[in-house]
Symmetry: C2
Subunit: 355 residues, 2 copies
């Protein structure tokens, strides 16, 4: 099978990133890294779906502004979410009036959109692309699980869908002068290192046969490990070449499963320690009551666009492999006897020099 690793020879830059999250996420350990925290998970909208779409739009608009651009200067936007017919993204794209490529990758969408934004700019197909994704606790619970009013109790392995969105503006600014406004955007908005996309690997749908929707982390962990190993193979790098390898939403249980599988593949505990992280385990603390951490497209989208991007701007992380992880079940597939297959897409980022 093909590795399907893309090498970005022109190293397109992530000009800016923005994250928007809900109340609970804004009270967690990552709160200082988010660009926008809402005091009200309705975001002033009449329905949860409209709230999610509005939150996503906030992140996209803020990222475009931070890049020193207007929406007319963005050539294409790639986005997806968990809702049926990607309702949050579709209506956001209607409002934004930017050419739109709709994606569905379950919770793997943030790296799926970023990877394709990288391809389109690196390949010279357009100057500026936005990659984004979102999820909302209340829309996801209603659609995939049980009505919130039931106050349903979850087992410790179950994760909680993150109310959050992330957006990144990708450009080949330094290659094509006509696209670039370096003096404007750097000085005004983006002090710090350049964060560039150097490679990406497309995930494959991997089915470990898990049927319990409270075990999503375990369902996705093999796909995440498969992605890591194929990415290392495709780039010729080793685990040690990265400051951080961070998965999207495996959660506490899934992260442990992924570490176990990596060790079976020959990665040592020393290599894993402090290097393998998971957004799902970072976003909430004990007080949240989310025993196994967060999930949803918005989990990795908000942490990659918040914490990871900003730490790379500062040069704290020099090379990071970000991997959003998704469970490709549908709302009806479990009732038809199907297990829960996982997928994971990976994007390699580097922090380049100081300005």
């Amino acid at each position: 099978m093909s590795n399907c690793t893309f090498i970005f020879r022109n190293r397109p830059e992530i000009l800016s990133a923005s994250s928007a999250v809900g109340t609970k996420e804004g009270q967690g350990p990552m709160k200082e890294w988010f660009d926008s925290i809402s005091e009200d998970d309705t975001f002033g909208q009449k329905t949860w779906e409209k709230a999610e779409s509005y939150m996503l739009k906030m992140a996209v608009e803020d990222a475009i502004t931070k890049a020193g651009k207007t929406r007319d200067e963005v050539d294409v936007m790639l986005s997806g979410d968990l809702l049926n017919q990607i309702m949050s993204s579709s209506f956001m794209a209607r409002d934004m009036q930017i050419p739109f490529i709709g994606l569905y990758g379950a919770c793997s969408t943030m790296t799926e959109s970023l990877m394709l934004a990288g391809v389109l700019t690196d390949g010279g197909y357009c100057c500026t692309a936005v990659g984004c994704a979102s999820s909302h606790f209340c829309t996801a619970e209603r659609q995939f699980r049980l009505p919130l009013e039931h106050a349903h109790q979850k087992p410790p392995s179950a994760q909680s869908t993150v109310t959050g969105a992330g957006a990144m503006v990708v450009s080949k600014a330094d290659i094509d002068k006509k696209c670039a406004k370096p003096d404007v955007y750097r000085v005004k908005h983006c002090r710090g290192n350049r964060v560039v996309i150097t490679a990406a690997t497309v995930g494959r749908v991997f089915d470990p046969g898990i049927r319990d929707s409270n075990e999503m982390g375990a369902a996705m962990a093999p796909a995440a490990v498969d992605l890591i190993l194929r990415h290392l193979n495709g780039t010729g790098r080793s685990f040690d070449d990265y400051d951080l390898i961070i998965t999207g939403d495996l959660g506490v249980t899934g992260k442990a499963v992924a570490a176990d599988i990596l060790k079976q593949a020959g990665v040592t505990q020393e290599q894993i320690d402090g290097k393998l992280e998971d957004c799902g385990t970072l976003i909430y603390d004990e007080s949240s009551g989310c025993k196994s951490g967060g999930s949803g497209c918005g989990c990795s989208a908000s942490i990659f666009s918040g914490y990871i991007y900003k730490q790379m701007k500062r040069g704290v992380f020099r090379r990071v492999l970000i991997i959003s992880t998704g469970a490709m079940l549908s709302t009806i597939s479990p009732f038809q006897g199907e297990s829960i297959p996982g997928i994971a897409h990976g994007v390699e980022l580097e922090s380049e020099g100081a300005l």
Copy 2:
């Protein structure tokens, strides 16, 4: 706003295409062009969703075989469908074990997947990519409309979802020798002209404010015209430079609306006559009872992969703009007071010389 037109300088070739359809489509005027017609819309599966997934897999496998390749030689597959969480595509991708990029573009998915397959091969990110899409009458009716058992009657403007799938194998065979097996695949499977992808334009979500789900054609027509005009602008071509400009599933009503809007934009009736076509109006005849024609991702997917591709192999059409058209409503957006926005993605194909 950006045109967002991609020019494919390496002119990647569509090595092969395959279409699979249901019984009713196989009795219509396009029957001679389809690669596979099922006598049973269950395709031997226990649920409609599994049937759709199986049909899509048939088209993908047949296209890969026709290209003289094995699934291990395909680097990446891009697919989507109308089902919640693109269930048909996800489970097909699990079975195929090819790196997978999931898309959601409603009925615009075939050109969305083909456009990105073109980018990935033209840009040198991979050698071989498959773009595909599907829809099934019974899964779509159950999800979007009413249970089949109701025998619900539709108004004349309503279209019927096509049971069909299409898949195309795209390669930069002639550029990179290591990817090519010209003697094998051409002689064995693909006699005729080379069909290459020369350009593509990304659609934007366009909302004419229509709220009646029996008027999908009218809801999508403005997006289709917007796409045509932006594509002409982006490529510097005129309407007359094409042998055919064919939309996905506007149907009888939507096609008439599109022609009216084109005329307002300065295109003459003579230019439109015989040049503007719509897959939705081609797939069924009077006896089908589908007054306004077909719809669904499978409508344009099966006709582009069947009729259009084969006629281009024969050199009957030299340059064609294929445009799949989608309505970006969700199963719940109309209940939240939202109108039905449309989108359309366009891919320009050329038939090159004789072998």
